[in-house]
């Protein structure tokens, strides 16, 4: 009986915390991430997920010729400073945040239409036996008409 109650409690806590984290993620995206796109026009597509240390997320998108774009990557503080890289489809590195900026976004002008891959990595900073931290990660894209 005790075992069952313990299982029930554990399952409830685990699933409940996931639910709460997802709800917080949506709020966080709206309040914190969306304003970082200004003055760019948001493309209207939400890309957010709960990620933990060492996790990687990718966004695939076509960028159009002669448009200016802003790629904004934001995360809740508890998971540290996110790194992001941008590759073309031939795996050539176009941009590496770690080498170029301390801002959470990157602006560029596309001179031709092409697909790019935005790859976001959550840093691994805690010792192996520590509790894994998770948090909301959001990737947003905005554009400006030339």
């Amino acid at each position: 009986m005790k075992k069952i109650l313990f299982t029930l409690l554990t399952v409830s806590l685990l699933l409940g915390s996931t639910f709460q984290a997802q709800a917080q993620c949506k709020k966080f995206t709206k309040k914190v991430c969306l304003p970082t796109l200004q003055p760019y026009t948001y493309n209207g597509q939400l890309n957010s997920a709960i990620l933990g240390e060492g996790d990687v997320a990718e966004l695939l998108l076509t960028f159009h010729k002669d448009y200016k774009y802003r790629i904004s990557v934001c995360s809740q503080e508890m998971i540290g400073d996110l790194q992001f890289k941008i590759f073309d489809t031939k795996k050539n590195l176009i941009f590496d945040k770690a080498k170029n900026t301390d801002k959470s976004y990157w602006d560029f002008l596309a001179k031709s239409t092409q697909q790019l891959i935005i790859q976001v990595t959550v840093p691994e900073e805690v010792p192996k036996n520590a509790v894994l931290k998770t948090g909301c990660v959001t990737i947003l894209v905005g554009f400006l008409e030339e």
Partner: protein
């Protein structure tokens, strides 16, 4: 004891459904192998998102083509009452979004209002709350003369709709809206292309939708358990077979930063080959998909 098991089962079901309701559904969790292939240096890709350019972006290729406004290419806003099923409302919400973007580009104010009203009606009927997608109507009316404000209102309306649907485990509906918008923008472009003298810029833009089509197929593939999505996926895969005949050779990217303007430029060129027959095939399939929606 039996009651306890039932209680455990109940709790799991409740929390799982709550979790699904807030999950970001355009996430392709299971496709780790594909992700690893796309980036061999990465050990684990947990989430893959596919975005498709908004109709607002795609429509702009029409202004660059310098062709005059033609409302005959659009799906009449008067047909809005005809759309009653979830599939019809979602796909036509996307279609009207592209039509609204087209009207905005040509400063067709009254038509913009009409299309926005149609969008609002579909949005209401899809159960999207007023504060998520509806209040924009008032702002639209007070910003009729401002093209940029209109763009922001369209963008906000669509982002609120997308966000609401994804929060409520209706990602497939959000994906159908995106698909409808993409198809309509491409439909308008192909129709214009047939009615103007050979316009290489427009033709190239149509050819370059090959990239977006791949992203759209990736997005819809997240919802293969939805029969409606599967139906459109089949049609888009047929279109993809034709697009495979379009050759796009890309030169290597060079990345430079304009320190004065404070912007980085990704510079390369696309060498595009699309023959007449392939163009006609693309136009026919796009037209068929579009006409099956409206």
């Amino acid at each position: 004891m039996k009651a306890l098991y039932l209680l455990i089962f109940g709790v799991i079901i409740i929390f799982t459904s709550c979790n699904n309701a807030t999950e970001s559904p355009d996430v392709l969790v299971e496709n780790i192998e594909e992700a690893s292939l796309s980036n061999p240096n990465v050990k684990t890709v947990k989430e893959i998102f596919y975005n498709v350019p908004s109709p607002m972006e795609i429509s702009s290729m029409l202004t660059k083509a310098e062709v005059s406004y033609n409302p005959e290419f659009l799906n009449s806003f008067k047909k809005v009452s005809k759309y009653t099923t979830m599939e019809e409302m979602a796909t036509n919400l996307g279609i009207y979004g592209a039509d609204l973007s087209y009207n905005r580009l040509y400063d067709q104010i009254q038509e913009s209002v009409n299309y926005f009203s149609a969008i609002k009606k579909l949005s209401d009927n899809l159960g999207i709350p007023q504060d998520q997608g509806g209040n924009a109507a008032e702002r639209l009316e007070s910003n009729l003369e401002n093209r940029d404000s209109l763009l922001n209102i369209i963008s906000q309306t669509y982002s609120n709709t997308d966000q609401y649907l994804k929060q409520n485990d209706r990602g497939s509906t959000a994906a159908l809206i995106i698909m409808g918008g993409w198809i309509e923008a491409l439909y308008i472009a192909t129709q214009i292309s047939t009615q103007t003298e050979k316009n290489q810029s427009l033709l190239n833009s149509i050819a370059e939708q090959k990239f977006s089509l791949q992203n759209l197929i990736g997005l819809l593939s997240n919802y293969k358990d939805d029969e409606t999505v599967v139906k459109y996926l089949d049609q888009l895969n047929n279109l993809n077979v034709v697009y495979d005949k379009v050759e796009i050779e890309q030169s290597k990217n060079t990345v430079t930063t304009d320190t004065l303007k404070g912007i980085t430029i990704i510079d390369n060129t696309n060498s595009i080959i699309i023959d007449e027959e392939t163009f006609v095939e693309i136009m026919t399939i796009v037209s068929d998909i579009r006409n099956s929606i409206i």
